[in-house]
Amino acid sequence: MILFQNVSKRYPTGQEALSNISLELGDGEMAFLTGHSGAGKSTLLKLTALIERPSRGQIVVNRKNLNNLGSRRIPYYRRNLGIIFQDHHLLYDRTVFDNVALPLVIAGFRHREIGRRVRAALDKVGLLHKEKAEPITLSTGEQQRVGIARAVVTKPPILLADEPTGNLDPTLSREIMNLFLEFNRVGVSILVASHDLGLISTLGKPMIQLNEGRLENPDQGTMA
């Protein structure tokens, strides 16, 4: 599903964020991306989401080589991804419902269909009763779950999460990770960047360890 071949990323500042990374995440697999801050976790996710382009190497997602994808096609490509951020990026000038509905509005779904899918997604993260709430009135954990509902509402085959539990206490973190495990059980490929080793080591999923832009355990570069 996600394939990196000898990928390097050097930023214009000269900083080499990733050096010669090769890894593969198969269809329906889930893996954690770990390492210190600055190890290249975010860069790897940004390359996958085409927020950044690699300096060298190939990235193939969903059997499409991202190097051949023009910038005009990027929006359509991103509709195959659910992206979850540490600071959840919710829009505070609209309700929870409207936040979750945004990807569907962008993809051009009809009004009735939007209502049905948004409620299904909110139900999945346990926030159906909050659909009319303003995001600002929710707790951090709830806001993160709204962000997850927004990421999964279009049922994308791939989820990318960057430190989704970064601001949460252990109980809430575990809840969030359980949500990801549930999505993975029904076939969604998931890549989660996290440095919460204590939590993720208990989840029984492979870990990709990055250190200063290099793979720590190259043998595990190929998952499963």
């Binding site: 927020i51 359509y76 509709r79 051009g108």
Partner: protein, 320 residues
């Protein structure tokens, strides 16, 4: 949860076309709602646009009224036909009658040398000196008033040239300098309206462009998020473009109201002035076509202003 989550959902072509229309409708009402939620700042922007559109429209109306009023007056063109001295008065009258038959001539007055001398004595103040003359040196004159419908200076010029070439005519002098001056003034005023319109159109574009630019900056985060979840630039652009259209259209409405209100204020004094000239002239307002023109121009300028802002600034915002 069910298994269909493994399939990305993509609407079919037909429903995507519908979605395109829905997206337009959404942007249309969303941008209108945004104006409604910030009424004061929206109104101020629209008022600036209204004033910018009202100025050239008002100038244009004044000009049109001036042209109409000038057309209604005696054009002032008057041809003095100096006949050969000593032409018998019978012949003078015959010539006058002959000229009266012509379509382009409204009336003809005969001024005999005696009448002319008497008038001259009265108005010049040389009465005593002129009494010393043995002979009356003045020629008989026919004063010809062209048809008032003849406003084209060239046509009058041609008529005068023909009159000058007639038998027994010494010279034909056209007194139409003020008409030419009026025409020149109107031509200058017309050019002024065009120049002022151009500058104010630019002002409208800049005002809308700047408003939309600020709006884009305020919604930077929203744009980044939208791009991250797959919004095309066209999708993001749409509500801003509609915003510009609304600014232009509603600004044009304000402009029309301003013009009509100003006209209402001018109507009284103009009628009094016309009364003094024994005319019942009343100011001409904006016609339906004029109004439509202003609305279309405003809408177009608003759209163009936002298009410039949107084209430049939305491309620059990329998620990081």
């Amino acid at each position: 949860m069910n298994t269909e989550i493994t399939q990305p959902v993509k609407p079919e072509l037909h429903s995507r076309l519908v979605a395109w229309a829905v997206s337009h409708a959404r942007a249309f009402f969303f941008s209108l709602g945004k104006l409604y939620r910030a009424p004061l700042s929206s109104f101020m922007t629209m008022a600036v646009i209204g004033i910018a559109l009202a100025l050239p429209s008002g100038l244009y109306l004044i000009l049109k009224n001036m042209e109409l009023a000038a057309g209604g007056w005696d054009t002032g063109a008057r041809v003095s036909l100096f006949l050969k001295p000593g032409m018998p008065s019978k012949d003078q009258r015959a010539l006058a009658n002959q000229l009266r038959e012509r379509a382009e001539i409204e009336r003809v007055t005969v001024i005999t040398p005696d009448q002319a001398l008497k008038e001259f004595k009265q108005s010049s103040g040389f009465g005593e000196a002129l009494n010393a003359l043995d002979d009356n040196p003045l020629p008989p004159v026919l004063v010809i008033y062209p048809d008032p419908g003849m406003t084209d200076p060239k046509a009058i010029e041609v008529m005068v040239e023909n009159l000058r070439r007639m038998n027994n005519v010494e010279d034909a002098v056209l007194d139409m300098r003020w008409l030419q001056r009026l025409q020149a003034i109107l031509a200058t005023a017309k050019r002024t309206v065009i120049v002022v319109s151009g500058m104010l159109a630019l002002a409208v574009i800049l005002v809308v462009g700047n408003t939309i630019r600020l709006d884009i900056q305020n919604r930077r985060q929203e744009i980044e998020v939208a791009k991250l979840i797959g919004a095309t630039d066209a999708f993001i652009r749409r509500p801003f473009l509609y915003g510009g259209i609304w600014y232009g259209l509603l600004g044009a409405f304000i402009g029309i109201i301003l013009v009509e209100a100003s006209l209402g204020l001018l109507q009284g004094p103009v009628q009094r002035l016309a009364g003094l000239y024994e005319s019942n002239y009343s100011l001409l307002g904006l016609s339906g076509v004029n109004g439509l023109w202003i609305l279309c121009t405003g809408t177009l300028l608003g759209w163009f202003g936002s298009w410039i802002a949107v084209g430049r600034h939305i491309r620059d915002i990329e998620p990081s």
